[in-house]
């Protein structure tokens, strides 16, 4: 066919655009790469996540499943075209309701919602669920998104930001929210230097294998446009990284052998056009597979092959906490419950696969990538690349969800190596499969425990032992092994206690940090046994927990005297919801046979920050000669809200309105270290540093004005006015000396929570601050199919002080969504569920109504009394749901996830036993 084809074009956001290049290209690719419309996000390239949803002639389509040819001649609308003005009413509603957290799914959600609203201006919840069912969100738990869409038709003015001194406690819109709803937030994949080389990794298809390379030079010659191929031999520094330096063991590129499926052995860098669809199946690597050990049982068995020669018995580490005499007390207990529990790998499944770019800025290697821990990234990358840390700069990109996995470096040393070696900028975006196979997971756990109570139902003893499958490399395995014994008692008085946990190496994916560091697994064990005990003692299950709730003055299992313990208050607050739910389900069950409803409760406690180890944050607050107030806020906001919360705290400490703050993010060249966004520490630790910095600067200003504590500070252009009663003083900023950071006034404060390291028996003061919570789940079980629907959740969380109640609710709802997924559907199987259609996370239709009850039992140490929350919110969900399933159906689930076939089998088992 020798005919000149007319060029393809489409009307995109109202303007005719050429769709150049191959007509078989994905529309998502054309939009992002050719037209610069990067508001359309790519989460899976398979239609599983809906992040790339655009409107084609008014209907939602996945741009990743649409060819350019199919888009031609059509009307395409992307997030960039949603509004002629700044943002549309729908986008405003998203902001107002806190419907965007990390923001990566937001454009897809907005487009799906826009299509609905065109047809149905005031949709019902069910209509919203049907319309948005094809877009996955991992942060929000969807409820605020539903509320925002239902409310989009309402014209509402944005609530005014609070005046000076009233930021703490105000449910303000997130301060960094506008770009998230506008679609111009810049994530790891959204920015790169022109002509950056595209980097791809060659990864192991085997769980365990020795390997050798063939003739890489001639392979490279065969493929035009390839600039470089690098292997472990090219790594200039120490080819072993890890979040906990003494355990650093993971090679950036494997040497001679791979220990898990998806481990990288080489990287290829080349010009974008050559790399785009490069077929690497003929890359010259010869694999010699080794029989793999994927389960901790096999790896811990005597004589098992060692994954790391230096780690005997494949035990990375074990942790233990001992108080009193558990065995003796158990023997004397009136009631003893005993059982086992098994959990599986859980994938973080953030909608943003890892992505970033690297370039040389003079001598400095600069990496802009998604992350939860910029300074740790810098240090680990520098070590791998043999650079002093001063020569590595990390600029955190907006991060599209992390939940623990983006604490570990992923592509940073790979793109860094390319930039360093070639001198050219480099960029890399993980595919969904690559993200799932190569990054960390929640530890699968095999646990056994016994808990004893006296005749009145008071807990007297607990014995717990757990093996945690830590996978091929150390990552956060040590943290899990330490945190679990500290927390396995739950927030309950447990005078006699023996808990141990081991992190076992296998050829499974690296298990790392995931919201709760092993504590959610342990809570499943403990809370299941608590229901056994309550049933055995004949005490109402909520009452049983209230009876045993740890209180101020009690000693924890680590011997720490508890202060500000709010678990009893949480449980008390749940009593009305609990009683109402019990009544509701009894009424339902009286007339329903095929479906039964049930209610369950579970609690959490969680120490904020590192366990008995230093973990400081440093906050810098400066005022320029022009009167600009800049907060160097290095706590990476991955959607949880630290940009807002830390600013709110600092604003009140300084005594000026939050609206006046300019935020400087966690760029390692600009901002002091605020540590990692993990361990529920940012509100407490960075928040406290921000409080101290705000106060320090306030004191400096008051001293300069010779005014007392109650004076009012006003920062204006070029001057600060201080008013105290009738007295008004002014400080002119213009003539003042400017410091190295560009400030005429500056405070920099560090806070490190006071802890005492644990001794050999796990005794000490592991955390300065704990947060608490409890949740009631109401579920419906299909007695013939074993399916479970969560009908309602009531969550009471003691946050000490809710700095921003809307963000607190957002955390609770998002944590519940992940807990629900863990309980009912999530099962990462290496080699089998490496995509988002085989690995299931909750959709918008799986989430129940959630009622949040915020308890504010202040903590003396936390800023304005605040406690951490990020991980707490996930911990009670799964056990509360399972306890409700049991209440409904009799099914006692001891293995996650509670898929329909497992629930039905457990119902049968319960029926046979009774």
């Amino acid at each position: 066919m020798n005919v000149l084809k007319p060029a393809l074009s489409a009307r995109i956001n109202g303007a005719e655009q050429l769709l150049a290049g191959d007509p078989a290209r994905r529309l998502s690719h054309v939009l992002r790469e050719d037209l610069g419309l990067k508001g359309t996000k790519v989460g899976c390239d398979a239609g599983d996540c809906g992040a790339c949803t655009v409107l084609v002639d008014g209907e939602p389509w996945c741009a990743c499943l649409t060819t350019a040819a199919q888009a031609a001649g059509r009307e395409i609308l992307t997030v960039e075209g949603l509004s002629d003005g700044p943002i549309s009413a729908l986008q405003e509603s998203f902001l107002r309701h806190g419907a965007a957290q990390c923001g990566i799914c937001t454009p897809g959600m907005l487009m799906a919602a826009a299509a609905l609203l065109q047809r149905v201006p005031s949709p019902s919840v069910a209509q919203v669920e049907n319309a948005l069912g094809g877009v996955l969100c991992r942060c929000t738990g969807y409820r605020k998104i539903i509320a925002a869409v239902c409310d989009a038709g309402r014209q509402a003015a944005a609530p005014a930001l609070p005046v000076a001194g009233h930021a703490v406690g105000a449910a303000i819109e997130r301060l960094d929210g506008l770009p998230k709803v506008a679609g111009d937030e810049s994530f790891g994949a959204d920015e790169w230097p022109e002509d950056a080389l595209v980097v791809r990794a060659i990864r192991s298809p085997h769980h365990a294998a020795a390997f050798a390379f063939g003739d890489i030079a001639s392979w490279k010659r065969k493929h035009s446009g390839i600039e470089a191929v690098f292997t472990a031999a090219d790594i200039p520094g120490r080819n072993a990284f890890g979040v906990i330096p003494p355990f650093a063991d993971q090679p950036a590129l494997a040497e001679e052998a791979v220990r898990f499926r998806g481990e990288a052995v080489a990287i290829v860098a080349g010009v974008a056009t050559a790399m785009r669809d490069l077929d690497t199946s003929d890359f010259p690597v010869i694999w010699k597979p080794i029989p793999e050990m994927l389960e901790s049982q096999a790896a811990a068995a005597p004589g098992a092959r060692l994954i790391h020669d230096s780690r005997e018995g494949n035990v990375l580490i074990s942790g233990m906490v001992v108080a009193g005499d558990a065995d003796k007390a158990l023997a004397l207990s009136a009631y003893v419950a005993e059982g086992t529990f098994e959990t599986t790998h859980v994938e973080h499944a953030y909608i943003e696969p890892e992505a970033g770019a690297a370039w040389m800025d003079g001598d400095t290697l600069t990496i802009r990538a998604c992350t939860q821990a910029p300074v740790m990234d810098r240090d680990d990358t520098a070590a791998v690349l043999g650079l002093p840390v001063e020569r590595v700069r990390i600029i955190p990109a907006a991060t599209g969800g992390g939940f623990g996995s983006k604490l570990d470096i992923s592509l940073q040393p790979l793109i860094g190596l390319v930039a360093l070696k070639t001198g050219k900028p480099a960029r890399m975006v993980y595919s969904r499969g690559e993200s799932m196979t190569s990054t960390t997971k929640r530890h699968p756990a095999r646990m056994h425990a016994s808990i004893g109570a006296d005749k009145d139902g008071r807990i007297v003893a607990m014995r717990f032992a757990g093996d945690f499958n830590t996978g091929a490399y150390a990552s956060w395995g040590p943290t899990v092994a330490v945190r679990v014994p500290v927390h396995a008692s739950g927030p309950y008085r447990t005078p006699n206690y023996h808990a141990s946990a081991r992190a076992i190496h296998t050829n499974a994916p690296v298990s790392g940090a995931f919201r709760g560091f092993g504590v959610p697994q342990a809570a499943l064990m403990q809370e299941t046994l608590y229901d056994d005990l309550a049933l055995g003692c004949g005490i109402d299950r909520l009452e049983f927990r209230r009876l045993n709730a740890i209180a101020d003055g009690d000693r924890s299992v680590c011997g720490q005297e508890m202060k500000g313990a709010g678990i009893r208050e949480c449980l008390d607050a749940l009593v009305p919801a609990w009683n109402a739910a019990l009544e509701r389900v009894a009424a339902f069950n009286a007339v329903s046979t095929d479906r039964k409803r049930g209610v369950g409760v579970a609690s959490c406690w969680y120490g904020c920050g590192n366990t008995g180890l230093t973990n400081p944050s440093t906050v810098r607050l400066g005022i320029t000669a022009d009167g600009n107030v800049r907060l160097h806020q290095g706590a990476v906001d991955i959607g949880q809200g630290s940009n807002s919360v830390v600013t709110q705290i600092c604003a009140d400490a300084l005594g000026i309105p939050v609206a006046q703050f300019e935020l400087i993010g966690g760029d390692t060249a600009l901002t002091p270290d605020c540590g990692k966004t993990s361990a529920s520490r940012q509100t407490v630790v960075t928040g406290k540093a921000a409080l101290l910095a705000g106060r320090a600067l306030r004191e400096t200003i008051l001293r300069m004005g010779n005014c007392g504590q109650d004076a009012v500070i006003n920062v204006d252009a070029g001057r600060i006015a201080i008013t105290e009663g009738e007295v008004r003083r002014e400080i002119g900023l213009a003539g003042m000396p400017v410091d190295a950071n560009g400030y005429v006034l500056c405070a920099e404060e560090t806070y490190d929570p006071p802890t005492v390291p644990l001794d050999g028996n796990g005794q000490g003061k592991p955390y300065a601050v704990y947060g608490y919570g409890a949740q009631v789940a109401e579920v419906e079980v299909d007695m013939k199919l074993g399916t479970v629907r969560v009908v309602h959740m009531t969550a009471a969380h003691d946050v000490g002080r809710a700095i921003n109640p809307m963000l607190v609710e957002g955390q609770i709802e998002g944590g519940i969504a992940q807990g629900l997924g863990m309980a009912l559907m999530e099962d990462y199987i290496p080699g089998r569920t490496e995509n988002l259609h085989d690995y299931l996370i909750p959709t918008i239709g799986d989430m129940p109504d959630i009622e949040s009850i915020l308890i504010e039992q202040p903590d003396a140490e936390g800023p304005y009394g605040a406690k951490g929350l990020g991980e707490h919110v996930l911990i009670p969900t799964a056990p509360a749901i399972l306890n409700a399933v049991r209440h409904a159906s009799g099914a006692r689930i001891t293995r996650l996830p509670a898929l329909p076939h497992r629930v039905l089998a457990a119902i049968r088992e319960a029926g046979n036993a009774s």
Binding site: D22, P23, A24, R25, R26, H29, D45, A46, G47, D48, G50, T53, V56, E59, P60, W61, C62, C64, L65, T66, T67, A69, Q70, A112, A115, E129, N130, A131, G133, G134, V135, L136, R276, D277, S431, G433, K784, L785, G786, T787, L824, M825, D827, I829, R832, T833, H837, D838, L840, P842, T843, I844, G845, D846, P897, L899, P900, H901, L904, A905
Partner: protein
Amino acid sequence: MTYFRPARLGDALSWLKDNNGRIAAGCTDLFAVTQDSRLQGPVLDLTGVNELRGISEETAMWRFGATTTWSDVVRAELPAAFDALKCAAREIGSLQIQNAGTVAGNLCNASPAADGIPPFLILDASIEIATLEGRRTLPLTDFITGPRQTTLGAAEIVTAILVPKTAAAGRSAFRKLGARRYLVISIAMVAARLVLDGTKISSAAVAVGACGPVATRLEAVERALAGQDAESAAALVTDELVARYLSPIGDIRADAGYRIEAATELVRRAIGECTVTDTSEVAA
């Protein structure tokens, strides 16, 4: 030319004869299995062929053009016998998938878990296939021969799915079982269609998917139901009657034994739904 998107079926057939290409329509399956930025050619995209899209009523049959999307099915005015098909259409992936995915694509992809197949099975559907030489039709049951296997020849294009008027009678229902609400691959799914004569079942059609290499009609169940009282029909469905047609695998979604049990229960519920709806309308 590696990507061809003709406007006419004749051009499509000619191209296919000369090129050993893949046929694309909604691309929801083709793009899902590659990480590439494009479909690697040669590709024949049928979505530009207008005559292949749409639902029409003919003298003796209903014709579903091959590239009719699942959203088209949802929006179409169809007799109650197609309720199962419509329900299945709403359960396929998400709105995004339903807007792109086509009826023939779902059948040609021939996934054992394809939600579109059981509803067409209970409608006695046939597949119309065109080549440059002419057209042929064959029953859907003969078209899909195994997991991701059909009898479609290299130079052939599915042009339509045909439902005889004789089968477009009665009421139907579809039940899908998955571990979450949206975007879920079925553990099992069932379509059932009952034709009632007063309170008696005059004929029944029941099909199960995701419980064997191909979706299948449950003829023994259908025979057992014929002539029975509609109200008590669901109770006549036994594990034994259902199980003999199924050969499920145990996989990540469920074990094999569960699939049989669940399928049986879903059959009961689908039949119950067909009869309840009917009764209520009679009562009203």
